[in-house]
Symmetry: none
Subunit: 437 residues, 2 copies
């Protein structure tokens, strides 16, 4: 029997709906993966009596409870106070916590406001969980049946605390039988198109299939129960990768997390010792922003259209369609070395078309890599933000495919197993590195 776990969120911003509780979903995913059964999520606001009652209920009902929020410096951050009341563990100043909070402000050259002192008050007998990215330390404690873990609600603080501090503690306290989650990450196929392809596959009953889609990628998730034979697992994953073809850009396992498409591209650019000059239009700075200060991105330029950029560069004779213009701009872009690639993105359509959710634009990407042109053309519809984001990802995908396969269009009849080796899937690892963010 897996231990029973509950998720508890504190915050008026959650119960009033101002903030969507993404922490609950993230923590649940981690907990299920590690071998817990998640039975319930609860969120309450800043009423002390509600908090106290809920903590007491959970202490009798669950083996473990992961709690977020309510550890901030302000009056409506009540979690520690509620714990003190509910479990009879009075708050006391933790000098190490206080020193960490003071150091946080010192690094930023600001005096610590008095109100932050409150964050160093922890329930007597609890275990402090250090927070390297913010001022709220977490803490953990056992009460009745339940091991409670309290973490701040800011995801960028909560997630690394969970991965580095909480997970090892949970493995010490519980005898967990983690299932193995394999995520096959694709770009370029919709969820229902993937579902249709997956329908052709005879999936064993004990393997759970799930999907997760956002603007950046679709993840096809296979959850294998504890102890599932590794060879059978690899075979099944290879079959799925074969079905999804070159839209697969990464395969994640419990021991290997590749990040998003940007991370995959970044790693391959660095490995191949390529550098890039970028000219973007439709993605409006987002493409450069996604590559976020990678060493290999030498320079990026945004302009409202390729025609305006070409004119500015003195190419008054620049004419013709977006693709010709892109070629001219790519050739005219000065590069520091032959290893520097140039990516130029143009689009057909004007500003009103871009803003109008009911109209589509056509996005062209031209990559000049080692003297050879690679080109993609796609129609993009939806809101302005969606067009911007899709344009960035479509251009990035050209870079990704050229890096992974040497060419943009589908080049090979590689088997799923060959592809799998390319993605470097490792299903087993004696010293598993866990996801950190």
């Amino acid at each position: 029997m897996n231990p029973m776990l509950e998720i508890f969120s504190q915050g008026e911003e959650i119960v009033t709906g101002h903030t969507v509780d993404t922490n609950a979903a993230w923590l649940s995913q981690q907990a299920v993966r590690e071998g817990f059964t998640v039975s319930r999520h609860t969120a309450v606001g800043d009423k002390l009596a509600d908090l106290v009652a809920l903590l007491q209920e959970i202490a009798q009902r669950a083996d473990c409870c992961l709690c977020t929020g309510g550890l901030g410096p302000t009056q409506d951050d009540l979690t520690a106070e509620a714990v003190a009341l509910a479990f009879g563990m009075p708050l006391q100043l933790d000098p190490k916590a206080l020193a960490q909070i003071e150091a946080f402000f010192a690094l930023r050259g600001r005096p610590m406001p008095d109100s932050n002192r409150k964050q160093a008050l922890l329930p007597k007998g609890s275990l402090r969980i250090n927070n390297k990215r913010g001022t709220a330390p977490g803490f953990a404690l056992q009460h009745q049946r339940c091991w409670f873990v309290f973490l701040p609600g800011v995801p960028t603080e909560m997630r690394p605390m969970f991965a580095h501090k909480v997970l090892p503690q949970l493995h010490q306290r519980f005898s967990l039988q983690p299932s193995a989650l394999i995520s096959i990450k694709t770009f370029g196929l919709g969820e229902s198109a993937i579902q249709q392809r997956m329908d052709t596959l005879a999936l064993p009953a004990e393997v759970q299939l799930g999907f997760r889609a956002d603007l950046h990628e679709v993840q096809t998730k296979l959850l294998f129960p504890y102890g599932y034979p590794e060879a059978a697992m690899t075979d099944l994953v290879a079959q799925v990768v074969g079905l999804l073809g070159d839209t697969v850009f990464a395969v994640d396992s419990p021991t290997r997390q590749s990040g998003g498409m940007t991370d995959v591209v970044s790693q391959l650019m660095t490995q191949g010792q390529h550098t890039l000059n970028l000219i973007e239009t439709a993605s409006q700075g987002l493409l450069a922003s996604l590559c976020g200060g990678a060493d290999w991105l030498l320079e990026a330029r945004y302009g409202q259209s390729l025609a305006k950029l070409a004119k500015k560069q003195g190419q008054t004779e620049a004419e013709g369609d977006s693709v010709r213009l892109a070629q001219q701009l790519a050739k005219a872009t000065p590069t520091h070395s032959p290893a520097t690639w140039v990516l130029v993105q143009g689009f057909d359509g004007d500003h009103p078309q871009f803003q109008d959710p009911s109209q589509a634009i056509t996005v062209h990407t031209l990559l000049l890599a080692d003297g050879r042109f690679h080109q993609s053309t796609h129609t993009v519809a939806g809101s302005h933000k969606r067009k911007q984001s899709q344009a960035a990802l479509l251009s990035l995908d050209v870079l990704r495919r050229v890096l992974q396969f040497g060419c943009y269009s589908n080049p090979s009849d590689e088997t799923g197993h060959t592809k799998l080796r390319r993605y470097g899937l490792r299903l087993l690892d004696k010293n598993p590195q866990r996801a950190t963010a």
Copy 2:
């Protein structure tokens, strides 16, 4: 006293974290706006006993409960069965519901699968809520203290059902007194610094104070009860705006939403008929990306450092500190008209410092506007992504302050009331427009 409302979600995909529960947040926002107090969110999976126990708890605790999920045709959709057991209301076939489900399939030229018949079984004595977009009708019923509303979990079905069918029912059953939420949006002061300033204010007991902080802004929220006198409301908001000074970039009310800082800047740039050329370094394309294709952003350029950009532009004599370099680059940037402003962002620090979360960098922003320089300098710490994002927002804030006040540094002894007029606060509106989706 507002009636107490709870949100309840059923679904294994919610508790396992495969799906983020956006329904809970959406319904809570609607409920708060209409005059309910939302006290709790709960999500449970497909264990019948859990569901039954939870429904019985809520029936004693809340005046109203909005429930989503578990109305589908499959075995793990258990909500109606749980209601039948929990409240002693046996399921019976609703002929109209069955006719609607059959019509749904007929319209699509598909035979109705047998499993969908189950969706027409409603608890005896409940009120059917028609679903025009899917096969799961909703239903509502009173048990003990609580009016329960059950809706499908698919947002595109649930939202219109709530807006068109459920809301009118709620207004008939409850005497609702919508409160007024005022959000004062700031950039540049942390949550605890704001709290300290707010502590100097004598806030009437019936006005609720709350905060919401993310990377982009801090919102100081004042929730005024129904019928609070408008003059007193304006006075109080003006006092808060006075306390928070020029860090306030917008004030939102139920009848006016200004969006984020980017939206405010965009509106002011357009109003003032300014255009912009942008050179960014530390924000790595993010600043251009945030301004996302605004008409007034003519061109943007990202480079790894100002020194590299200056060298490339042939300014071999470019020397000195980041600020001097920024000035030289700003002056050398060709502009199309005198109305074109130039914003240059540089930073002190190298690539390893940028990547290292334990090291800080210094970000300089220089805005050349109508022949005059405006400058800001800030220390930025944290992860690489955080530095990137803070750099973008700090530079945007220079633009915002120059647009709102004519100058970067705090220029005026404007009273809160004068500022409030500047933000165009409208507290009352005879015909409030409600959000419907």
